[in-house]
Symmetry: C2
Subunit: 341 residues, 2 copies
C-alpha cells in the first residue's frame, strides 16, 4: 500500500495524537499541521478509513488508528528517533549489575525496563539448546549432602544441592566422576533424556541403585540449563493502565503469568526487533496489546529476547529504540558474564 504524502502526514498525526491523548482525533485538531481546511482533512480521513487504516468508534467521533494503521505508521512513518543521551544514561545505569548470574541480570533488566516504559516487561534467559556438557563437579558439603555443579559449553553454570540416603564415601564419588567422564562430558544437553539415562543405568550393574539419584539430578541440571526461564516484571503497570487494555486486562495478566505461551511467542520472532500490534499475533489475550521485542546476542548468537507488552496505543517511536538499546547492553553484559577464561 502506497499513500500520498498528505495522507501519510494525516495518518501520522492521528496516530501520534491518539497515542498522546487516548481520545479519538478529529479533523479540526490537525488543521494546524497541514494548513488545509478541516473539510479537506475529512475527505482524506474518509479515504484512510476506506483503506482500513483508521476507524471511528461511532459515526460522530474522531478517528483512531486500526491495527493496520499502527502497522503502516510503524513501518513507514515513524521517525527513527535517536535516543536522548539522558535516556541512554538511565538505561546504562539500570542494567549495570555487577557480578550476577544471567538470571539475575535478566530479572533486573525486566524490572527496570518495566519501570522505564511503564509497561509489563519480559525477558527469556539464554537458551542452552546447542550446548554440551563441559564439566561436572561434585562438592561434598556434609556426609550425605553435596552440590553438583554443571558447566556447559556456553558458559552457563548450574548447580543443585544433592541429598543422598547413603553416606557419600570417596569411592561413591569416584564412581560418579567415572560415569561423568565416560558418558556425560561432551554430551549435548538435549541428549540427556530418559532413554539415555535408562541405557546408562542398565549398564551400571550393581552400582545402579546408588548412582541413579546422581544421574537423575544431573539430568535435572541439564534440563535447567536448557530450559529458558521467563522473567516477568511490571505487572502492576497493567493494572495501572488497565483501562487501555479494555476488559482483557485480567486475561492479559493471567496470560503473562502462565509464561509458556509468551515464551513461545518470543522465540518465534525472527527479526532483530519485532513489533506485534494487537490481533496480529494469534493469542486473543493480546488483542488489545502490542508487543515490542528484541533479541539479545551472546558472542554474536541470538540466545534470548527482551520485550515489553503494552496497550496498542503505545509510544512506538520512543520505546522501540529504548528496547533495542537496552537489549544490546544486556547482550554485551551477558557475553561478558559468560565469557570463559
Amino acid at each position: 500500500m502506497e499513500l500520498s504524502p498528505r495522507k501519510e502526514k494525516i495518518l501520522a498525526a492521528v496516530v501520534e495524537n491518539y497515542i498522546r491523548t487516548g481520545e479519538p482525533v478529529g479533523s479540526k485538531s490537525i488543521m494546524a499541521l497541514l494548513s488545509v481546511s478541516s473539510a479537506t482533512i475529512r475527505n482524506e480521513m474518509a479515504e484512510l478509513s476506506a483503506l482500513g487504516l483508521l476507524e471511528q468508534p461511532h459515526t460522530s467521533a474522531g478517528r483512531i488508528p486500526t491495527n493496520e494503521g499502527y502497522r503502516y505508521y510503524v513501518d513507514n512513518l515513524m521517525g527513527v528517533r535517536h535516543l536522548d543521551e539522558s535516556v541512554k544514561h538511565r538505561i546504562e545505569a539500570g542494567v549495570s549489575v555487577k557480578n550476577a548470574s544471567p538470571e539475575t541480570i535478566l530479572a533486573k533488566a525486566s524490572e527496570f525496563l518495566a519501570d522505564l516504559t511503564e509497561c509489563a516487561a519480559v525477558s527469556t534467559t539464554p537458551s542452552g539448546e546447542n550446548a554440551t556438557v563441559k564439566r561436572v563437579e561434585f562438592v561434598p558439603v556434609g556426609t550425605r549432602t553435596g552440590m553438583i555443579i554443571l558447566l556447559t559449553s556456553t558458559g552457563m553454570i548450574k548447580s543443585k544441592v544433592y541429598r543422598s540416603d547413603y553416606d557419600l564415601t570417596a569411592s561413591v564419588i569416584e564412581k560418579f566422576y567415572n560415569i561423568v567422564k565416560t558418558t556425560f562430558i561432551g554430551m549435548p544437553l538435549d541428549d540427556i533424556d530418559m532413554a539415555t539415562l535408562q541405557t546408562l543405568v542398565a549398564s551400571m550393574g550393581s552400582d545402579a541403585l546408588m548412582m541413579i539419584p546422581f544421574v537423575s539430578t544431573l539430568s535435572e541440571l541439564a534440563q535447567d540449563a536448557m530450559k529458558t526461564m521467563i522473567m516477568l516484571g511490571g505487572q502492576s503497570n497493567i493494572l495501572r493502565y488497565s483501562s487501555d487494555y479494555g476488559s482483557t486486562a485480567y486475561e492479559l495478566m493471567d496470560f503473562l503469568r502462565r509464561g509458556e505461551p509468551i515464551s513461545r511467542m518470543l522465540s518465534e520472532s525472527k527479526d532483530d526487533i519485532d513489533v506485534t500490534i494487537g490481533g496480529e499475533n494469534k493469542f486473543k489475550q493480546l488483542e488489545n496489546s502490542s508487543v515490542i521485542t528484541a533479541h539479545y546476542t551472546i558472542d554474536g548468537d541470538k540466545r534470548g529476547s527482551i520485550g515489553i507488552i503494552g496497550p496498542t496505543r503505545i509510544d512506538y517511536a520512543s520505546l522501540i529504540p529504548s528496547v533495542r538499546y537496552l537489549t544490546d547492553l544486556v547482550g554485551n553484559l551477558l557475553t561478558q558474564t559468560l565469557k570463559e577464561d
Copy 2:
C-alpha cells in the same frame, strides 16, 4: 467489649452474608436466623452501629461490617472450622515439591496458595539471622572461573560464580582456604560486615590485592544467606477482584511489588497466626485489605512467614485454617530439606 448472644448472632450473620454476597445486609435477610421481627433486628443493628461494629454506606442501605466488626468476628465469633479432607489433600499435593531449594519451595507455595485462595500470596525465605559459617568450598570450573559455596549452620547452601582477573593457581586457592579456615568458619553471618573485612584485608599484606575479590564475594554470599527474600504470587488475583479493593488496587499491587515493606510487616507479627484487618496496619496501601499470615518453623524455630493478602471481606473462617495448614506443611518440608546429616 462484650455483646449479648443475640447481638453476636446478628453480627456474625451480617459478616458472613456480606462476605458471601458483597452486598450490604438488610434486617429482613437475617430474620430467618433469629426468629424475631426485622424491627427488632434493626434496633440491635442500630446499637451495633453505635458501637462501631457495623456501618451503613448510606442512610437507606443495609449494614456492612467495620474493621472493628470483622475483628470482633474473627476473635470471638468465627467457628474454628476444620479443614475439609479434600482441601487438605489439595494443599498436600500443592506443596509436595521434590528435591528443591528453599527458595523454590516457597515460590511454589506462594503460587499455589494464591491459586487456592484467589488472593495474592507472599512468603519469606528463611531468615539466616543467627546462622554462622559452617563451611566454605571453592570449586574451580575454569582457569579464571570458579564457584564459591557457603554452607551455614542452619543448613542453607548458597553459591556464587566467581570470576577473577588472574589465573586461579593452586597456591591462590590454598591461600583462600587458609583465610576461610582461620577467619570465617564459625563466624556469625551478620558479623561479616565492612569493618571486619577491612581489618582482615589489612592483615593480609601483599596478598591483599588477590584476596579482596574472594572475601568480598564471600561476604556477598553471607549477605544473600542472611537476607530473606520475598516470594510473591497471584498478583493477577488483585486485578481480577480489583473492585473489592476500591481505588487502591494499583497502590496495593505496587506496594507488594516493592517487597521491602511487606517483608517488614510479616517479620513484625508475633502470633502463631496473624490476621490484620484493613487499616489496622500502618500502611495506607492496605487500607482495604486484610492480611492473614502464619509463621513456619524449621526444627521448631520461627524462621519465616507465609501469608495472603485479600480484600477485607475475605472468607476468614475457611482461609485462616488453610493458611495455617499449608504453612505447617511447608515448615516440615523445609525442616526436612535443611536437615543436615
